[in-house]
């Protein structure tokens, strides 16, 4: 029994008449996997392993022959306030964006779960922010946040919330808020889709019964809907964190990581080191720490997928 489990549940029964055929089938299965596995190894596994290795080398524009330096890159990182800043910015960015998207995505899903005329059309249109290319969303929000002609400044001035136009993208906090708001805008649709799918198999009778017992809307949300959505919530948070940590395009197009380093998340930091300063060793080392940050959510995600099968 233990042997069977160790080979991944693959069964060879001495009683089966098609023992020989099984062998052929198995080879066919492996053959089918082969092209994808080859592509995967060359384009993903090999570069990944190599980047892990390069983090232990000094490899820069000045020094194109990689020299092994052990963990020196990591020591440099530990004493470098820039990389530390980048970590903090990443945590703020991913944390705020994920939390904001969960709240707004859930709210929007609950609204679109309520029957009203035109709901189908709004549901479809709600997916648009997710579908438009990342550069486009950066353009849209860059124009909204524009310091001279941006509609946000006009709106806030009109409402007397600010006295003078703000240069949102040129101040550290303004730029960080802008990339977070753009990220939330882009990810609400996906979160909404997950929540809507989860809401479909909500037990209506249970809710009707609770209502007869005098439960109000808020009580139903708190005692029935949210507990029911907990598994979906977990998936969405994990996917949101992974996606946020991977995000590069919109931030780069909107702020380029600036002003100075205010929005320089890990993905931007690695890009800058590798392709602007050509310090491949340091870029790889920061990338390795980035992978380490991704490991906990990745672990949860995989565990959920395995359990879900």
């Amino acid at each position: 029994m233990t042997n069977l489990e160790m080979t991944g549940g693959f069964r060879v029964s001495p009683l089966t008449r098609r023992g020989g055929l099984k062998g052929v089938e198995r080879r066919v299965g492996m053959l089918m996997l082969l092209p994808a596995l080859a592509a995967f190894s060359i384009v993903i596994v090999y570069p990944f392993a190599q980047a892990l290795g390069l983090s232990l080398f000094e490899y820069t524009l000045q020094n194109f022959e990689p020299t092994f330096i052990g963990f020196d890159n990591f020591r440099t990182i530990m004493s470098s306030p820039e990389v530390l800043d980048s970590f903090i910015v990443t945590v703020i960015y991913v944390g705020c964006a994920t939390a904001g998207t969960v709240v707004l995505g859930l709210g929007w899903a609950l609204i679109l779960n309520q029957p009203f005329r035109g709901r189908g059309a709004i549901r479809s249109l709600s997916l648009l922010p997710w579908v438009v290319p990342s550069t486009v969303s950066a353009f849209i929000w860059g124009w909204i946040f524009n310091s001279r002609y941006g509609v946000l400044n006009a709106l806030l001035l009109e409402m007397n919330l600010i006295d003078v136009p703000q240069a949102w993208l040129s101040t550290p906090n303004g730029a960080l808020a802008a990339v977070v708001l753009t990220r939330i805008w882009r990810s609400i649709p996906l979160f909404m889709a997950f929540f809507l799918a989860g809401l479909q198999n909500l037990d209506r009778e249970q809710i009707d019964a609770a209502r007869v017992d005098g439960a109000g809307n808020f009580a139903i949300l708190r005692d029935h809907i949210i507990p029911h959505l907990r598994p979906v919530l977990l998936v969405v948070v994990v996917l949101g964190v992974i996606g946020g940590l991977q995000d590069f395009d919109t931030i780069f197009a909107l702020t380029g990581g600036g002003p100075v380093r205010a929005t320089s998340v890990l993905s931007i930091e690695v890009y800058r080191r590798a392709f602007e300063q050509w310090d491949i060793g340091m870029a790889s080392a920061i990338g390795v720490l980035w992978v380490a940050t991704l490991l906990p959510p990745a672990y949860f995600y995989l565990r959920m997928l395995v359990k879900g099968r």
Partner: protein, 278 residues
Amino acid sequence: MFDLSSRTAKVVFFGTMCLIGFYMFFPLYWMITSSLKDNAELYRVVPTLYPHEITLKNYWTAISESKLLTYLTNSLITSGSSALLNTILALYAGFSFAKYRYFGRQPVMLFMLSAQMFPFGLLLISLYPLMTEVGLLDTRLGLILSYIVFALPVATYMLYSYFSQVPDELIDAARADGASDFRIFHTIVIPISIPPIVTVFLYSFMWSWNDLLYSMTVIVSDEKRTIGPGLLLTYLNELNADWGGAMAASLLVSAPIVAAFMFLQRYFIQGVTAGAVK
């Protein structure tokens, strides 16, 4: 779900609806209307809420005076090819994972799946010298191949979970008739799997269409550039940014992917959320 008969409930419900709806849709509305304004109306400190004089000048300039059409063609070629490549690879791999049992199947599958979490930027650091070595830098083929990074793991998983639901009896019956496994896959399984195949194709296409990082790094020459970096270099790299043109170009490059998506969204949402929700 919610009981909206009381006045408070109505106010809270519609209030929230207006707020989130405004956040979701106003930026899109603003992109469309800004693209239709001429510069005199566009560059005003107090903007007009809708274009008082509609002009298509921005679209005309975007098409005729920039390289937008070149970028669009390049994006179509690279995204289309990489989506096709990804779909074909994922089809066989997904079927193999779902219907065959062999040593190492599960660990390989888990490893492939976890690869979607490898930082794309980190992979690029070693992909870049690799491509230089084999002469694929600044080629469309190099970009197409590197787009495997984005979608292959998820595409494989999506098709795997679909194929797992295809009954074994279907395959066994055809086997009893003497059909080979490849023949069964091609003539029986693929024809009944068109919706998930389309979903995976679109998913993969979307990733490449939206990409900025890889295209910006792998492609150097302007005539091979795709829309992501193309737009960025055309509209934001100059001192005086052309916002009207940027909005018009944004609409033009979003149109193909939005059209495809609207057409297929039902399959798409099912495919993407599958597995997470039961």
